[in-house]
């Protein structure tokens, strides 16, 4: 029998809990293995790039973080869209988790990138299409977080719209290097790497994507638990059992 609570937690409960646990365990093992070997592959196995030298090693983790950021944008977009369609709070939890991870991985991307830029170009920042659009995407999700924190009632729907806007921007961010002439290297760099560098690159990307999946699952679980606890506290307050206020 499906209870009201089970209906509210639809996204996380559509797959049996054991299947989710097994999948996450597999992802965890893959992440541990990938992180264990990636530094060796990056610093010892992959050759030094002829022109950029050691600074090119930043590329392996920088791109991994960037891919994770784009996947998190996708998670936020799916959550936002489903929340606007169904008004289920569980989808809002998914969107919120995705948005927070965009900010986290965005910080990693927007700090490691300029460090490489300083070494390769001699300057931390240039206002080219890729860098500027990435900053815009990042700030969109910072605004999402601020809206959730200070927006009051109705902020969930407004932020869902902002999440969809961010998702709409992301294809331009990804293809900016192909659409416009930019100082940032093109996306095709990844598929033209020699085998030793390609191995280090793909293992690093795999490690970061697995980390994203794990952290995202944990964050969604926490957001969902926060929502349920909020409900419980409200109910308990109504019954006179709780006097700490409704905020958890």
């Amino acid at each position: 029998m499906t209870t009201e609570r089970e209906t509210m937690s639809a996204p996380s409960n559509r797959l049996p809990t054991t299947v989710v646990a097994v999948l996450l365990a597999v992802v965890g093992i893959v992440a541990i293995a990938a992180y264990a070997v990636s530094p060796t592959l990056v610093f010892y196995h992959a050759r030094l790039e002829r022109e950029l030298g050691l600074s090119q090693k930043i590329f392996y983790f920088h791109v991994g973080c960037a891919w994770s950021m784009f996947i998190a944008v996708g998670v936020a977009a799916i959550g936002s869209l489903q929340f606007l369609r169904t008004r289920e709070r569980a989808w809002d939890d998914v969107a919120l988790s995705g948005a927070q991870l965009v900010v986290v991985f965005g910080i990693a991307v927007l700090t490691s990138g300029p460090i490489w830029g300083k070494l390769a170009w001699g300057t931390f920042w240039v206002w080219d299409a890729r860098l500027t659009s990435t900053l815009l995407l990042f700030l969109t999700f910072v605004a999402y977080g601020l809206l959730r924190r200070f927006g009051g009632p109705g902020a969930d729907r407004l932020s869902a719209g902002l999440g969809l806007f961010g998702a709409g921007v992301s294809p331009f961010v990804f293809t900016a290097v192909n659409l416009w002439r930019t100082q940032h290297p093109k996306n095709s760099v990844a598929v033209t790497l020699p085998p030793d560098m390609a191995l280090a690159f793909w293992i690093s990307v795999l490690a970061f994507v697995c980390l994203l999946v794990l952290v995202c699952a944990a964050r969604i679980g926490t957001a969902h638990a926060e929502s349920e606890l909020d409900d419980l506290v409200l109910r308990a307050t109504d019954l006179g059992l709780y006097d700490d206020g409704a905020s958890v």
Binding site: S55, H62, T111, S112, I115, L119, L232, V233, L241
Partner: protein, 110 residues
């Protein structure tokens, strides 16, 4: 012959040297040593800058990710504490003797 030395010395127009004179200077072991030392110093400085950049970039990435995971764990711990507190209050309310005429157990806000 060190290619760096040839490159430097064979820039004949700067020093007003003929190609033969430039070759002769480039073949001088002292010049070769000096040029080699200069190239090594420049490469070492470039390598050190890159090394600092790589260490800084990787550190920032890890600090950001680890900080987020720690915040997540802290938030989960706080949630568990709230939940335990709520359960304790519920249990206490259930154990308390029922007051006639009340539908909910007595509490601070009742």
């Amino acid at each position: 012959m060190n290619s760096g030395a040839v490159d430097q010395v064979s820039n004949a127009s700067v020093y007003s040297l003929s190609p033969e004179e430039a070759q002769a200077v480039a073949n001088d072991p002292q010049v070769q040593d000096a040029v080699r030392a200069q190239i090594q110093a420049e490469e070492y400085a470039r390598f050190q800058r890159a090394q600092h950049g790589v260490v800084l970039a990787y550190s920032i990435i890890w600090v950001v990710l680890v900080a987020f995971v720690l915040m997540l764990l802290r938030s989960q711990r706080r949630l568990r504490a709230k939940l335990a507190d709520l359960e304790r209050r519920l249990r206490k309310a259930e154990e308390a003797p029922a007051t006639p005429g009340r539908t909910a157990p007595a509490g601070p806000n009742a």
